[in-house]
Symmetry: C3
């Protein structure tokens, strides 16, 4: 539980499963394991109860760059919570593969990479060389629940 | 032909290959097989002739949530048509891997998951446990041919 | 160096690594190799110095379809530059797998496939059958650095 220990040392706590608003159905798997690949569904920032957490809206409009960075960092924590439940131990992650960072963006906002750095910086801090990943960071017109950030990813796991 | 039988029982017919408007070139493979992976290009809803089918426009503006759900369901049927042509038999699909659901969205539309459920619900109904998948459902400012929904996916196949 | 020779015959030169504006951090890997897969981060068009190159803006507004096509072609050249650095020789690419083409789009622009054809056409010209790929071509509300086009991809490599 080396990664979990690092998270604790940073004062970060893994949230429980996503708690969705009444009437919302999410008929898919947060982490879907196929062979040695773990495909990770789109995640957003959660609070300690598992609920989606704001600030809500588009980065470059209602949400600032700094708030977007923090939302992306919280999204990494949220994803690690799902991975911990699916894998039992985050140390089973052999390598990060791909990170697809989606930023709900105002028409004229072009700093998506600086927002998704909040995700990448934490993954690199926790996993070191194994945290290296291919990445895109791009602007969406709108995201579910009016989230400012959503990230989809893939990791390689030890079986 | 277990999956094809289920489709028939639901009264669903697989459409022919995509028929594109004059002058449009799509120089890529609808289903690209690499080892035991089948990568599936972005698909949208088609009618029985293979043409793209409306209602066209953005969900939350010209297109309602219910119409979006139906378009996503038709998109699954369209994709199964491409998979049947590429694989010979849909029973060769061992597992669904990843679904990336793109919804042409009005600025303030945030129910992309409820739209893409039209895709996921049908896949799960047809494939059962093998239909489980990782998924993102997100908002695009515009999609080709003014489609309301486009889905890209990956499945694992038996060789 | 068969592919490099073809590039030279077309008069195309691979650009140096991406040169980012001051203060920009991109803490990820342009080409991330995991087993026989090379995951390629989002790339845009570059000039001969490695800087992002315009015309900047949204296709269908500030940028024309033809300019978008050329930007997508330059994006392929940019990506081949990163692949050449990561692999040593572009002939190590056994097959293209997936191309995800993102077009910064005006609200009512729906010809994303015609833009991303600038990418696909060059890859097919250079790689022949090995250049075949699954593809999506979709509309983003905004891209980093106000680029008109960004492409993410995956290739299979010989080890």
């Amino acid at each position: 539980m080396r990664i979990e220990a690092k998270l604790a040392a940073l004062g970060l706590e893994l949230p429980p499963p996503v708690r969705v608003p009444q009437g919302v159905r999410l008929p898919f798997t947060p982490v879907h394991i196929v062979g040695d690949r773990a495909l990770i569904s789109g995640h957003g920032p959660q609070d300690g109860t598992g609920a989606s957490v704001g600030p809500f809206g588009k980065v470059g409009a209602e949400v600032t760059l700094d708030e977007g960075y923090q939302a992306a960092r919280l999204t990494a924590v949220s994803m690690l919570g799902s991975l911990a439940r699916a894998l039992g131990d985050l140390d089973r992650i052999e390598a990060w593969v791909r990170v697809f960072g989606m930023v709900s963006s105002a028409q004229d906002f072009h700093q998506q990479p600086a927002v998704i750095n909040g995700f990448s910086d934490l993954i690199l801090e926790l996993f070191g060389d194994a945290g290296a990943h291919a990445r895109s960071a791009v602007g969406m017109v709108a995201l579910p629940f009016n989230l400012p950030v959503e990230v989809e990813a893939e990791v390689l796991i030890r079986r």
